[in-house]
Amino acid sequence: MPLADLSRALAEQQLSTIEPALSRVDALVSRPVVVPEDAWRGAGATALAAAELDLAARIREARDLLGQARASLRAALATPDG
């Protein structure tokens, strides 16, 4: 199989794999960041809220990276020799 065909087939497979992964990460991005302050109280609630916000930011970054990877794969597949 010519290299161009092989790389195209692999890129298509990668794309079809990361599409559902991206949907799952999208769901994580829309996950509500709720820290029940009454329950944790004081410093515990503050630390947990900060950690939750940090996690939310990291999830958005991972989603952006996956989105960029998907765009690159689509771009590669769109080129005639991709």
Binding site: L28, P36, L55, A62, S72, L73, A76
Partner: protein, 498 residues
């Protein structure tokens, strides 16, 4: 779509009276734990665990996709593919880091909770110790002092005069009125805790009065925990029967109503509403071709608080005997009703009850005589009932209701425990007897259960719902409901009505 039952609006037919619409947050002790934590906190921990698991799973998928081909090592590959490969690698690394961080947070929060549980256990142990010492002192010093004072003619005359004034001048009624005018006195978690400790320390008082040395009392108290209810109940019944009250009798379950069809209940509120009035049991039988029969037994609360002989099986003697772990007339009468309804030891049974009905329900679920698969109790003093593992359902109590505290501390951890304060400090407490024990106060708590966020509570609600719904939804299913009155039968005494 959220399939949980929506809470009734203020104008809905089953809306609660205004006085019962306040209250606190739901607190939950999961199976195997005695630490009560808020439903919101449990839900937060569950979300962290879900995030950890989801991020871990996605990271594995992305890392797998990235690892198929190292584009950088293949000559002549388009730059876009090389770039995509690098991005996928980086995304997988970031996702793994998210999973690890969520797991660390979840673990840290659970360690903090475990520490809180140990702290709570230490506090409870300290309170129990202080209460035991206090009760022993009262027995060792207070009882002889009281006897000495009572044999002093001047003190005795004063007591008699005081009692006469209290009785003749409407003093007792005024005292009762005062308690009704100040419902916060008995509607506070602190008072409820006091009652619980007092119940637990009854034997310490007894041993103190009998001259048992304090160190020995504490050792004996630890090894016989739970026995104070049995011995206390037996003593009260023995004393009562000597004066012709709190007597026992045979029982009978009289069928009063039967209906051919009924829809299965959905949610805690509907189940609580299905529990009949005092002195009755409702038995629902769900049958479908090829399926094991399922039975739901709803036991009503105390019918009469009279200590005199009446026709009611759910009376004061049954309350005392039930809390003491005996075999009360109410439980015996419910067994008769179940047999009359054709319930067998093979049928899967779900027991439900409110107040004394909760004691009966817990006793039958724990008896081993029935194939109990679920138990849901409200306002029941069942802390000492040793339940089997694996039951669906929950024990629900308002933390400002003193009635469940009469059963002593919660020793069994095989059933989900759910608590809520019926009246928080800003709420108006209605001037009625034991406001937090009223069924409306528990309806509000049941509504909060149906709105719960934590999976721990929602799973149990779903399991209880599924019990009847699974059968009722089958082709050819039949549902029958029967109601029985739980009565005493006297051979030698005039019947005293209900």
């Amino acid at each position: 779509m959220d399939e949980r039952a929506a809470p009734p609006g203020p104008d809905a037919p089953d809306a609660l009276p205004v006085a019962f619409r306040g209250g606190g947050e739901l607190r939950v002790a999961t199976v195997g734990s005695s630490l009560l934590v808020s439903d919101a906190l449990l839900a937060h921990l569950e979300r962290l665990r879900e995030l950890h698991e989801a991020a871990d799973a996605v990271a594995a998928v992305v890392a797998g996709a990235a690892g198929w081909t190292d584009w950088a090592a293949v000559p002549g590959v388009p730059a876009a593919l090389r770039h995509a490969g690098r991005l996928l690698d980086e995304a997988a690394t970031r996702l793994r880091a998210i999973a690890e961080r969520a797991a660390a947070l979840d673990a840290a929060a659970r360690v903090a909770l475990a520490g809180a549980e140990q702290g709570e256990a230490a506090v409870q142990h300290g309170l129990r110790l202080a209460s035991a010492v206090g009760a022993w002192e009262l027995g060792a010093i207070g009882v002889p002092l009281l006897l000495m004072l009572a044999t002093n003619p001047f003190v005795l005359a004063g007591l008699v005069a005081g009692g006469a004034i209290l009785a003749s001048d409407g003093g007792l009624a005024r005292l009762q009125r005062w308690f009704l005018d100040h419902p916060r006195i008995i509607t506070s978690p602190e008072f409820v805790e006091f009652v619980r400790l007092a119940v637990q320390s009854r034997d310490d008082l007894d041993r103190g009065a009998r001259g048992v040395p304090l160190p020995l009392d504490l050792v004996v108290g630890e090894s016989t925990a739970g026995g104070e209810l049995a011995s206390g109940g037996a003593a009260v019944i023995l004393a009562g029967t000597a004066f012709g009250v709190l007597r026992d009798s045979d029982t009978v379950a009289r069928p009063v109503r039967a209906s051919a069809e009924t829809a299965p209940p959905r949610g805690a509120r509907e189940r609580l509403d299905r529990i009949p009035e005092g002195g009755r049991v409702r038995i629902e039988v769900y049958e479908a071709p090829g399926e094991p029969r399922r039975v739901a037994v709803y036991v009503g609360p105390t019918d009469t608080f009279s200590v005199l002989p009446t026709d009611a099986a759910e009376d004061m003697r049954s309350n005392i005997e039930g809390v003491a772990g005996g075999n009360p007339a109410s439980t015996r009468a419910v067994v008769q009703a179940m047999r009359d309804a054709g319930v067998t030891a093979e049928d899967e049974v779900q027991f439900l009850g409110y107040s004394q009905g909760g004691i009966v329900a817990a006793q039958l679920a724990a008896s081993g005589d029935w194939n109990a698969v679920g138990l849901e109790t409200y306002a029941a003093p069942t802390g000492g009932v040793d339940l089997p593992e694996g039951l669906a359902g929950m024990a629900v109590r308002n933390s400002d209701d003193l009635v469940p505290a009469l059963g002593g501390p919660q020793r069994d951890t095989d059933l989900l425990q759910v608590e809520r304060r019926a009246f928080t400090p800003g709420d108006d407490v209605p001037p009625i007897a034991v406001p937090a024990h009223q069924k409306d106060a528990y309806r509000a708590t049941a509504d909060a259960i149906d709105r719960a966020d934590s999976a721990a509570v929602r799973e149990q609600v779903a399991r209880m719902d599924a019990f009847a719904a699974e059968i009722a939804g089958r082709d050819g299913a039949t549902v029958t409901a029967s109601e029985y009155e739980l009565d005493r039968v006297w051979q030698d005494a005039p019947q005293g009505g209900r």
